[in-house]
């Protein structure tokens, strides 16, 4: 059980870090487009900084949404023959879809995590969710 919890927390940490890196990077891509003097060193240092400043908000949100969706996935895995890896990957994708689209819709259209504003950003968020679910499902398979 402890291994499962740690695996879930680890997978969600991975998703959160990717979400944060994507958000920070998307801001820097725009800054480069408007000729601001962005350097590789600045980008890397700011991503690491943002992992801590943004992580306080993003990690709990990612954790809660995925937990809710994964609980449904647990039931599906238990009572059907669905593959763990595919089911949790799908669940991760759905969770991040909710984060990227559902939460802003409920919040009057405001994107609190700015990386999700563009279509590419939303797709990447879903991809990160799928990856998180894949890592979790793959880890479970080793049990």
């Amino acid at each position: 059980m402890l291994r499962k919890i740690l695996l879930f927390l680890g997978a969600m940490l991975l998703v959160s870090i990717l979400v944060i890196a994507q958000t920070t990077l998307s801001n820097f891509i725009w800054l480069i487009q408007v000729d601001m003097p962005v350097t590789f060193g600045i980008v890397i240092s700011r991503i690491f900084q943002d992992i801590f400043t943004m992580g306080l908000l993003v990690y709990p949100i990612v954790l809660i949404i995925n937990l809710l969706i994964f609980l449904v996935a647990v039931l599906l895995v238990k009572f059907t023959n669905f593959s763990k890896v595919i089911t949790y990957s799908f669940a991760g994708g759905v969770a991040m879809l909710l984060l990227a689209i559902g939460i802003p819709l409920m919040g009057g259209g405001i994107y609190g995590i700015s990386g999700a504003r563009s279509i590419v950003g939303k797709l990447l968020f879903i991809l990160f969710g799928i990856l998180g679910g894949y890592v979790y499902g793959k880890g479970l398979k080793k049990d």
Partner: protein, 367 residues
């Protein structure tokens, strides 16, 4: 002897400064003029005894001889009361006593797609307590998805042109740097909504644009001699700014900022850059400045020409003095909650509106 004299004068200056500071804190009283206001946003004197107060919910309340009337101004255009949107600013034409023109800014839904909204400004004639000859002066382009960051503050300049602040729409901050839209801009128009031919960026983008690179500007005032335009704007998490507004200038948002995104993300690591204007003061953490006025009355001699800023986080009234020494700041009142507006009363006092569903109008006058 020299040292003694220096010491004496230093002591004298210190004592005098202390006395002035003490006077500033103790020389005013706060009275409630009206209560039960529903999300008030702005106010204006239409005569010595009548004040109109806009409520974001769409009403214009009337305070007459100290009484808040049940009657409201009629024929007010429908506004969108959602998020940060609603009926917002109200200003009088400089020749109001003759032409009875008033101007209203508000957020409005798209006629078909109700998820979209924009900032709109109208001019109307006030006949009694009824609006007539309502004419659209400005509509921000394009529409936005989130009803947030409308700006919506208005100010008439000496040349009878008017400035309108148009916020960045929250989700569209990068557009504040391009001149093909109204996000994050200050707009300058003639009093009938036409575009002044001497607008500074008339050949470079939208002809109405006066300045750009703003976020959510909700305070706009002229200096005592009307020679300087001051603008205060909400920053993100940190980075609220007090700027001196000049035509055609780029104020940098979001390429430079002193704040972080609400999520904690880096919006920009840069705080200054050649060609981008610097604020004369910024606040980290944010104070959420909701309005600003220059004190023009005679009741408080010490305050004449000072800027007053109402703020919503944690909620206070600030006095700002700009002099050769720099920008000095004093928090005058911090026990009234979130403050929405500060205004020069016709009788030389200050009026302050609190924020929210059961808000009050306060008068600040000498003791």
């Amino acid at each position: 002897m020299n040292i003694k004299r220096k010491l004496f004068f230093s002591l004298l200056i210190a004592i005098t400064s202390f006395v002035i500071a003490e006077n500033d804190l103790n020389e005013f009283k706060i009275e409630v003029l009206a209560e039960g206001l529903d999300h008030p946003w702005s106010l204006v004197h239409i005569s010595d005894k009548e004040i109109l107060i806009t409520e974001k919910t769409g009403k214009i309340r009337i305070l007459k001889e100290g009484n808040l009337l049940k009657q409201t101004v009629q024929n007010v255009p429908e506004s969108l009361f959602a998020g940060q949107g609603g009926l917002s600013d109200i200003v009088l034409h400089p020749n109001f006593q003759k032409n009875k023109y008033i101007y209203l800014s508000f957020s409005e839904s798209h006629s078909i797609n109700k998820r979209l909204s924009t900032l709109r400004v109208i001019r109307a004639q006030l006949n009694g307590y009824q609006l007539e000859e309502v004419k659209e002066i400005f509509k921000a382009d394009p529409y936005r998805e989130a009803p947030a960051h409308f700006g919506a503050r208005m100010l008439f300049l000496d040349d009878k042109t008017m400035l309108i602040t148009s916020g960045d729409g929250f989700n569209y901050r990068e557009k504040a740097q391009s001149l093909d839209n109204h996000f994050g801009k200050v707009i300058r128009l003639n009093d009938d909504g036409s575009i002044p031919l001497d607008n500074p960026l008339i050949d470079k983008g939208k002809k109405e644009i006066f300045s750009y690179g703003h976020r959510n500007q909700q305070g706009l005032t002229l200096s005592l001699d009307n020679s300087i335009i001051y603008l205060v704007e909400h920053g993100p998490r940190g980075g609220d700014e007090l700027n001196i507004l000049n035509p055609g200038k780029n104020y940098g948002w979001p390429a430079i900022t002193y704040g972080l995104d609400y999520s904690g993300a880096t919006i920009s690591p840069f705080t200054e850059m050649t060609g981008l204007e610097q604020p004369i003061k910024y606040w980290v953490p944010s104070i959420a400045p909701s309005s600003m006025t220059t004190y023009r009355g005679d009741k408080f001699k010490n305050w004449k020409g000072d800027l007053f800023i109402s703020s919503m986080v944690p909620g206070d009234l600030r006095r700002i003095r700009i002099s050769k020494k720099g920008v000095e700041e004093e928090v005058l009142i911090d026990n009234l909650g979130r403050l929405r507006n500060v205004y020069n009363s016709a009788d030389g006092n200050l009026l302050v509106l609190s924020d929210g569903p059961n808000a009050k109008l306060y008068k600040i006058s000498p003791k």
